[in-house]
């Protein structure tokens, strides 16, 4: 599904990613764990297509397509979803309008019919219910005045509506209490299946108790230094990055 080969990237002339090799097959959930400053967020932004990151080498294919040649919106339409570490507030943009515009843009790009306001509302209500979220959430402006947990839940709602093939969860656990963490994890787990892959990027092992990965990769100083089964996360938690990676 996602294949990263020798990916190097700079921010303002400073090398951050120094040769990433990583493959996430269809239907699998992989975790990328690493200490602060290892390049975790850069990796997720580069994959989603944010400006300001200079790709200096390597390639990324997504579902057989050259991901790095695509605009951010094309990546989303192709089925890539980034759950933001810090979801952005959009004052003056209603959440329902935002969600419907996004969903219809993606549906249009995929050659599917757009949903009218009534059809959308019906779908959104069903997703909200499945995620144990209040309907109030879609009546407010996007993320404005949301608590940290509400923002992350709104990310999961967007994911549930857009039904991506690959979700990148960028430190989705940061700032979440245990109840919010469970809701987020349940949302991701509900999507697991042969058509859904995820890359769970995190500093701590905690989230991986709830979203058990098929494989764990250790990112340090811009490189994957070790890969292993889910138990590697526990090892990292117990012994620290420096020792495990040594």
């Amino acid at each position: 599904m996602l294949k990263i080969e020798g990916l190097t990237a700079e921010v303002e002339g400073r090398p951050i990613l120094k040769g990433i090799d990583l493959e996430v097959p269809a239907g699998e959930v992989h975790a990328v764990m690493g200490p602060n400053g290892s390049g975790k967020s850069t990796l997720s932004y580069v994959l989603a297509g944010r400006e300001g990151y200079e790709i200096t080498g390597g390639r990324v294919t997504f579902d057989g397509r050259d991901l790095l040649a695509m605009e951010p919106e094309e990546r989303a339409a192709a089925g890539l979803f980034l759950a933001f570490q810090y979801p952005v507030e959009l004052p003056g943009v209603g959440n329902a309008n935002f969600l419907r515009t996004a969903l219809n843009a993606v549906r249009r790009a995929r050659g599917e019919p757009e949903l009218d306001a009534m059809q959308f509302l019906k779908l959104a209500r069903a997703k909200l219910k499945a995620l144990h979220m209040s309907e109030e959430m879609i009546k407010r402006n996007v993320n404005v005045g949301f608590s940290g947990g509400e923002k992350k839940r709104n990310e999961v709602l967007q994911m549930a509506l857009l039904e991506p093939k690959l979700a990148i969860l960028d430190e989705t656990d940061s700032g979440l209490d245990i109840d919010a963490l469970k809701i987020v994890a349940d949302g991701v787990n509900a999507m697991r299946g042969p058509g859904f892959s995820a890359l769970v990027i995190t500093h701590y092992q905690r989230l991986l108790d709830h979203i058990v990965p098929d494989r764990v990769h250790v990112l340090m100083d811009g490189r994957i230094v070790k890969s292993g089964p889910a138990s590697l996360a526990l090892e990292l938690e117990a012994e620290g990055y420096a020792k495990v990676a040594a």
Binding site: A48, G49, R50, E51, G52, E71, P72, E73, R75, A76, A77, L82, F84, P87, V88, L90, P91, G92, V93, F98, T101, A102, L103, A105, V106, A109, Q158, L162
Partner: protein
Amino acid sequence: MNAMTTGAEAFLGRFEGLRAQLPGGRTDWVAALRADAAAQFRAQGLPGRRVEAWRYTDLSPVAALGFTEALTLAEERPALPAARAPWRAVFVDGRFAAGLSSLPPGLAARSLAADLDAARGLLGALAEPLPLVALNTMLFEDGLFLEVPAGAEGGTLELLSIASHTQEAQKGRPIAFHPRHLIRIGQGARLTLIETSLGPAAAAYLHNPVFEIAVAQGAQLTHVRLQQEGRAGFQLCTVLAAVEAGGTYDNFTLNAGGRLVRNEIHAALRGPRAACHMNGAQLVADGQHADTTTFLDHAAPDCASRQTYKTVLAGRSRGVFQGKILVRQAAQRTDGYQMNQALLLSEEAEIDAKPQLEIYADDVKCSHGATVGALDEAQLFYLRARGIPAATARAMLVEAFLSEAIEGVQDEAARAALDDAISGWWQREGA
């Protein structure tokens, strides 16, 4: 300085030639009013940038054009856009077009030129000593004369101004017209006025309207102005409003058209508990200059005023906001608020903002603020990362930026007209 003098003299010269032809030309009180205005205009001239109120807006392009007064030309019947309200007063080149209008019964809506005698004592009653008001008084050819009777539920009336005579303009003779609108809302009465001004795309012309608006005790006027003049046109509009006790004047102005436009509003809150909301959106594209200048005079206690202006600038364009709030000594417990914000979509765009508070009362709540910024890259990326194409994402963020100023427009017809005007602008200029 020379160009300005020339511009003023040309207007004065045409006034001398037209004196007898102008409405009320043979009526003493009107002739005297016009002569006084001419003397004032002769003394002041077209305002230059050395005048503080005109520091950011340069009228020399207006002064440089030799206009033909539209009054001297035959009447035209241009095509009209679809109606927004059941009743509509249409003005073509500043003159009332009876055949194109349908006026509401019971609101005493008529042509000012046709009923000038009834305006004696009202016309000029709210005039300030402003050069463009003097120019208008000197040369006005017509206008809407509306007296909503006390207690009347006036509904919604559309005021449509169309600049025509494109052929004259193509011959290098741009036209000028100076409508004078008298709007009087009787005690406890209500009215929504949706005013749209349109003009040909490529022809230069000058539309110099003056509104004198009197809102009586407990009355309410919602005035929605959709300025969509042609891109080579000039609109210099002055609104003079006086609100009595418990009355409300709401003005929303969209500045979306024209080459150079000024939306100048003077509102006086004259009785206790009067209120004024002045909101606006300026959409300024490459080559355009849009100026909103407000003057809020709190002259009585317990009054409230709210102003929110948003300016979006694209290409090489310039926006101006000047807003002064005067709180007189008598105006205790004034509640005043003013916010102006600009969104620059281009590095070549410029905004000048000058808020001013002048407060003589001691028990007052008054605040103002201003911001200038570009589209937020993080917001743009967030939308695009959800599959929303870049152009749509930008439009959504511009709309969100404007929303605070626009949400006050509650009347459905006005809101629909406004939304259409904004999306039309975005399709033409923004994306």
